[in-house]
């Protein structure tokens, strides 16, 4: 082959190699000078996506700041966020963040404190106090709560009358179950089990973490009692079989289920005949009705070079109608107390539950404790096959958690 023929081939090959390499370049920031990158959860459908896009266009029209939306499916969000802040092509200037992750990202400097950036127009006292507190780490504010929800106890009104709906654990445990129906859908496994366990331990007078010692506190009498109560309401293996079936509560095979506001419309959509009731989380004595909280915060990653513009977008999204729209996408409620209005009696129970919310310990690395150790211990205790002893499981989880927290 002559050089004349080789040169075009060489050009082609180099172009292909160049194209391969082009995908690996890092433009290091937000692109255009007046553009910010906003990383959000992917709305569940096209209509919501369009509504979000329209909201952003409205912001651009109002302020002149261009916004590039990066909508990421919720399941992959955290890993995508990590990649984006460390080596992504479009590093986020503003981003959604799950509440319990704030401490981890604040402690290693991945997100920045916003106290000094905060405009006077933002009234911090208007927010649900617990939701706002999830944004604080070592006295500094690292974000604002965008929306929140609470877990309540749903019941199937065809199987449980409103009068029977329990306020205390004893009342709950005493409910008789018809044949082929399970009492309780359960607390799930792994991370979910660790998350819901907090409601049970605190409704029994215990807690997950002792701030004074910096050690976990769930291997206590209250923790063991909560685990035993859960084991009791799990009942037997027939209940296990019903529980493991798809949509068992929705199909009317289970009396009680823990869930949040986003479950309500979904359950009604899947089974329009399902008559759902809801109550605050029962407790040991009925005195308190603590429950766990979910929701998203807005944070500014430290890699952002346009923090003031990001702050403007954050303030814009905190306006009433914008906050309501964004909350609607996830089925949650706005985090500002005044905006938490509903005429649905089942959703109203979720709003009522906001008065007794629990946030997860604000400790770096808590999610590992929750998912790997506490969640695993609760899962093993409730597994009818495993039959792991409560003392043994909680002791192991305590030792492993304290070891993991000491490394943070």
């Amino acid at each position: 082959m002559s050089l004349k023929k080789t040169l075009p081939l060489a050009a082609m090959a180099l172009a292909m190699a160049g194209a391969t390499l082009a995908g690996c370049t890092d433009n290091g920031g937000s692109g255009a000078a007046d553009q910010i990158n906003f990383m959000v959860y992917q709305p569940s459908d096209q209509d919501d996506h369009r509504a979000l896009q329209d909201l952003i266009t409205e912001f651009t029209d109002e302020t002149g700041i261009q916004v590039r939306l990066n909508a990421v499916p919720k399941d992959n969000y955290d890993s995508t966020f990590k990649s984006a802040i460390s080596r992504g092509s479009y590093k986020p200037d503003l981003a959604y963040m799950d509440q319990p992750l704030i401490a981890t990202y604040a402690s290693d400097g991945s997100i920045c404190a916003i106290d000094e950036l905060l405009a006077e127009t933002i009234d911090l006292e208007a927010f649900n106090e617990t939701a706002l507190e999830t944004n604080r780490y070592e006295g500094k504010l690292y974000g604002l709560p965008l929306n929140l929800t609470a877990s309540v106890l749903f019941y199937n009104r065809a199987l449980v009358s409103d009068e029977e709906a329990p306020e205390t654990w004893a009342e709950w445990e005493a409910i008789a179950t018809p044949a082929d129906v399970a009492l309780f859908e359960g607390v799930g496994s792994g991370g979910y089990a660790g998350w819901y366990f907090q409601a049970f331990i605190e409704n029994c007078g215990g807690k997950l973490y002792d701030e004074s010692t910096g050690q976990v506190a769930f291997n206590s009498d209250a923790g063991k009692e909560a685990a035993q109560f859960l084991k009791d309401i799990y009942r037997n293996e027939t209940d296990d079989t019903i529980r493991s079936s798809s949509n068992a509560f929705i199909n009317g095979d289970i009396m009680f289920k823990i869930g949040s506001s986003y479950d309500i419309d979904n359950m009604r959509k899947q089974n329009p005949n399902l008559d759902i009731g809801a109550i605050l989380m029962p407790s040991k004595t009925g005195e308190h009705h603590y429950s766990v909280m979910g929701g998203e915060n807005l944070v500014i990653p430290s890699c952002s070079t346009r923090r003031e513009s990001a702050m403007k977008l954050m303030e814009f999204l905190m306006e009433k109608e914008h906050m309501e729209l964004l909350a609607e996408f996830t089925g949650n409620f706005p985090s500002i107390t005044e905006y938490q209005v509903t005429d649905d009696p089942v959703k109203q129970v979720v709003v009522d539950q906001f008065d007794e919310l629990l946030m997860r310990p604000i400790v770096p690395g808590w999610m590992s404790v929750n998912d790997l150790y506490l969640g695993q211990a609760v899962t093993d205790i409730l597994d009818h096959e495993e039959q792991r002893d409560i003392d043994e499981a909680l002791s192991w989880a305590e030792e492993a958690s304290n070891m993991a927290l000491a490394r943070q």
């Binding site: 082959m1 050089l3 080789t6 081939l9 060489a10 090959a13 180099l14 292909m16 190699a17 391969t20 390499l21 690996c24 890993s79 990590k82 990649s83 802040i85 460390s86 981890t104 290693d108 400097g109 991945s110 496994s189 792994g190 991370g191 293996e237 027939t238 296990d240 079989t241 019903i242 493991s244 079936s245 798809s246 068992a248 199909n251 095979d253 999610m367 590992s368 998912d371 790997l372 899962t379 096959e385 495993e386 192991w396 030792e399 492993a400 070891m403 993991a404 490394r407």
Partner: protein, 322 residues
């Protein structure tokens, strides 16, 4: 201007390099670099996104062996993975051989059966998993119907004794079509005169199968043995989608993924992946050395075992890093 004259050999070399340049770039960036980088990360406490990390030397490796409190699931997950390989690989090979032999016996509708067997192989794993989840549902699926009709309490995916074998069965079912096609094409290449010679010697169908067919497809079976073993050792999707590792189905890839993705322990996850790499390397080398192949000459076989094992391991580690 002076014209550059290249020798014919140099021109051929130059052109060859040009053609493979995109692949070389791809290999270097997306396979070789992650292998090297993850080895480096395995000696750090990097969380996957921070700019800073601490160099720990071999601490992560030591910890995998000495800290069952923090990492209680790694060694059990290795056991689970090997058990899964044990369930899937022999069954896959034997079934593929039998089905291919049946299809090769000039039965009617060979094409139809080939298509039927191959459909699961070209269906998306997620769709297959969703279908199986429905079928195995103890209340509403096929199993649910059996439970209702016979008053049984079968719950295959929610029991430690049945979850892994069920997933293994799914895997064998899903891979059967591919394996059958490969073995069948090898059978079609067997010289018909060998069968005739066997017949002349008084051999029946069974003798022909064991003395002509099986030796004829042995290299193909060995190829399937290695690829199925590697596939089994990398098992992840079904466990992730169908049981999330519960009921004794946490394979080592799932354990590493969870540590990396959910808990940001990139250093430890990388160390575990290298330990797995070494374990698999030994395992595959033993297969190369012990299992009969077409070439049975001693020294050459041994040399090939080293070379082929290394080559496969690099491919495997690159796949894992991806």
């Amino acid at each position: 201007m002076r014209r550059i004259e290249l020798s014919r050999k140099a021109r051929n070399n130059f052109n060859g390099w040009l053609f493979i340049l995109p692949l070389v770039v791809y290999f270097a960036l997306f396979q070789l670099a992650p292998i090297i980088l993850s080895f480096f990360y395995s000696m750090t406490d990097w969380n996957g996104y921070s700019e800073s990390y601490t160099f720990l030397g071999l601490e992560n490796y030591i910890e995998v062996f000495t800290n069952p409190i923090l990492y209680p699931d790694f060694w059990p997950s290795i056991g689970t993975t090997f058990l899964y390989v044990l369930y899937t690989v022999p069954a896959s090979l034997v079934l593929a051989l039998v089905v291919a032999a049946l299809l090769n016996s000039k039965i009617k509708g060979e094409r139809f059966f080939k298509t039927c067997f191959y459909i699961p192989s070209v269906t998306a794993g997620v769709a297959v998993s969703a279908m199986w989840i429905y079928m195995l549902d103890p209340s509403y699926g096929l199993v649910g119907a059996i439970n209702e009709a016979f008053g049984t309490d079968i719950n295959l995916l929610h029991s430690s004794s049945t979850a892994l074998p069920t997933l293994a069965f799914m895997s064998v079912w899903g891979g059967l079509g591919y394996n059958v096609l490969i073995v069948l094409s090898a059978m079609k290449n067997i010289n018909p005169q060998l069968y005739e010679a066997c017949e002349v010697d008084g051999g029946g169908a069974i003798r022909k199968f064991f003395h002509v067919t099986v030796p004829g497809v042995l290299p193909t079976l060995f190829f399937l043995l290695i690829t199925s073993t590697i596939g089994g050792l990398q098992a992840f999707d079904q466990m992730y989608l169908m049981t999330d590792g519960a009921y004794g189905t946490t394979t080592v890839m799932l354990e590493i993924y969870s540590l990396y993705n959910d808990n940001s322990e990139v250093g430890m996850a990388s160390a575990m992946s290298y330990i797995l790499f070494l374990i698999i390397m030994v395992f595959v080398f033993i297969q190369y050395a012990v299992v009969p192949q077409s070439d049975s000459s001693g020294k050459r076989k041994k040399r090939r075992a080293y070379g082929d094992t290394l080559r496969l391991m690099v491919e495997l580690q690159a796949e894992g890093n991806r």
